[in-house]
């Protein structure tokens, strides 16, 4: 799954007709979303092609006449009436034909049945385990006045803030997800386990992750906003609204927001919407530049470095800034202060929209 090599050279037309890609776009299983998000993080130049391919797949339909609900109902009722008292009868023609086809597909039929049974037993298992897990949940409420550290069965670490409550299973074995319920504020450092996504349910949203660290602020009142802040890695956040939580992450993923480092999502329960913004003070990874003191340094180069240091997309018009240089000392400044200095030099301004910085 982690091997991105096959897809590196894919173009829009290849994505549109690729099985794995299509199944992500149409079914969006959590593990696929993680996979493709990580792919885009690693190959940002593919993002435009992927988005176009997604648009095409989602809007692709077959022009066809369909039966209305009433027509389906009519057919069903008529068949029910005509078969009301009829005992099973022999009719050889019907059988003989299916026999031929059965012979052709004998081996293969056995195969598809095996798959169905597997899925079926998985569903049954999921059902029983969630009932079972119900009885082995631990609930911790922190009223100690200071943060409390909790280590889960998978070695994930949670710092639970004061006046906050968390509920988690004592053991994740046998579950398809690692499911945690939070009310209040907490910081998560999640152990990597690709086969078992980590889900945090909190006041109207669900945050999904494979292994990363992030912070959740889940207010007890619906009027306040919930916040998910990413410290490292990639997480996906979904508003639950009136849907069933499991369906939100596996099927419709309406309103899905993907967050990377230094981004946060704010959720308003009353409006059931999520907004991506930047964290208040973005933290750079180790910078790739030797110095923050620039003398006649190309501004495009500095912007590129900021992008990769902070993991934040900075959108600007290359042509406009191509020959512009900067002479300034940016050391010790926050991201926003750096942007102020750059924009002053360019006689431009910047805005933060949708978790991205746009220089105008």
């Amino acid at each position: 799954m982690e091997d991105f090599q096959n897809y590196r050279h894919y173009k829009t037309q290849d994505f549109v007709w690729d099985d794995a890609f299509r199944s992500w776009v149409l079914e969006s299983k959590p593990e696929d979303t993680l996979y493709w998000t990580q792919f885009m993080v690693q190959f940002p130049d593919k993002e435009a092609e992927i988005n176009l391919a997604k648009d095409i797949i989602l809007r692709m339909t077959v022009d066809e006449s369909v039966l209305s609900e009433t027509q389906i109902h009519d057919i069903t009722e008529r068949v029910m009436q005509k078969t009301r008292s009829s005992a099973p009868r022999q009719k050889n023609a019907f059988r003989a034909h299916w026999k031929t086809s059965a012979r052709i597909g004998m081996a293969t039929l056995a195969f598809s049945v095996a798959i169905i049974l597997l899925i079926h037993s998985m569903q049954t298992r999921k059902h029983t385990t969630s009932q079972l897990a119900e009885s082995t949940f631990t609930t911790k409420t922190n009223t100690s006045g200071h943060p409390m550290e909790i280590i889960l069965a998978d070695q994930s670490k949670i710092i639970l803030e004061n006046e906050s409550r968390i509920r988690y299973p004592q053991d994740f074995a046998g579950n398809d997800f690692r499911e945690i319920h939070l009310s209040g504020n907490a910081f998560f450092d999640v152990s990597k386990d690709a086969s078992r996504p980590f889900l945090v349910y909190s006041n109207g949203i669900v945050t999904k992750v494979l292994g990363t660290s992030f912070r959740i602020h889940a207010p007890k009142s619906d009027d306040e906003r919930s916040i998910v802040e990413v410290v490292s890695g990639v997480v996906a956040v979904y508003p639950i609204g009136n849907n069933k939580p499991q369906e939100v992450i596996t099927k419709n993923r309406v309103g899905e927001v993907i967050l990377t480092r230094n981004q946060k999502a704010e959720y308003s329960k009353t409006r059931n919407n999520l907004v991506t913004i930047l964290v208040d003070d973005p933290i750079p990874a180790d910078t790739t530049l030797a110095t923050q003191q620039f003398v006649n340094h190309p501004i495009l180069d500095i912007l590129d470095t900021l992008k990769s240091d902070y993991g934040i997309d900075i959108i600007h018009d290359d042509h406009q800034f191509v020959n512009r240089t900067l002479t300034a000392d940016l050391s010790g400044l926050t991201l926003y202060q750096k942007l102020d200095v750059i924009c002053q030099a360019l006689n431009a301004s910047y805005e933060v929209i949708d978790g991205k910085i746009i220089i105008l």
Binding site: D14, R59, E64, V66, I75, T76, V79, S112
Partner: protein, 190 residues
């Protein structure tokens, strides 16, 4: 116990649910072979009546969806071929009009002129695929069937399914590539 197995044991409720689930998709599929809606509806009705009568002889192991599609296809062919002026399906392998399908990109909500452009072009290209390739593409991508189910429905070997699919996709990818080479795609819109 799944719906199919429940139906075989004589459960009327399961039988009804089986119909409610499959009648819609069966009609969509059937209408690709024959433009007479009434004939397709009648055939689906006959199919389920016989299914109920024959239930004791059906295998619980069978894949319900593939079985129903295969039966409808067979029954429909028999009816169509009784009509004058029809040619057997197998002789039509490379004809383009028998399995009539047009894929389009939904008009609703499209403000993006690029997608409108893709829509117009794709319609033409898909319509031009050979009959059997179109049927495989339809079953796989729009009816969510796997290779084994398609092989059962179309009465061809799994390997033939793969070959048909591969040839169709090769053509569809090339077509889409040519469509996307239009200058309309070279400036990026947000």
């Amino acid at each position: 116990m799944d719906l199919w197995t429940q139906f075989i044991t004589g459960d009327r409720k399961a039988f009804k649910e089986l119909m409610e689930t499959h009648v819609g998709p069966l009609f969509k599929y059937g209408i690709k072979f024959c433009r007479e809606e009434e004939l397709v509806r009648d055939t689906i009705q006959d199919l389920f009546i016989r299914l109920w009568e024959r239930r004791e002889h059906l295998s619980t192991e069978a894949n319900a969806k593939a079985y129903l599609f295969a039966s409808l296809r067979r029954m429909l062919f028999r009816k169509i071929q009784k009509q004058p002026d029809t040619v057997p399906y197998d002789n039509l392998e490379d004809a383009v009009n028998f399995f009539s399908m047009e894929i389009s990109v939904e008009q609703r909500f499209i403000s993006d002129e690029r997608l409108r452009f893709v829509e117009q072009q794709m319609k033409m290209k898909i319509a031009a695929l050979p009959t059997r390739q179109k049927e495989v593409v339809y079953l796989k991508f729009f009816m969510d069937m796997n290779r084994e189910q398609i092989s059962n429905i179309m009465q061809i070997s799994p390997q033939t399914v793969s070959n048909l699919l591969q040839n169709a996709l090769k053509k569809l990818r090339t077509d889409l590539r040519l469509i996307l080479m239009n200058p309309i795609f070279f400036y990026r819109k947000r």
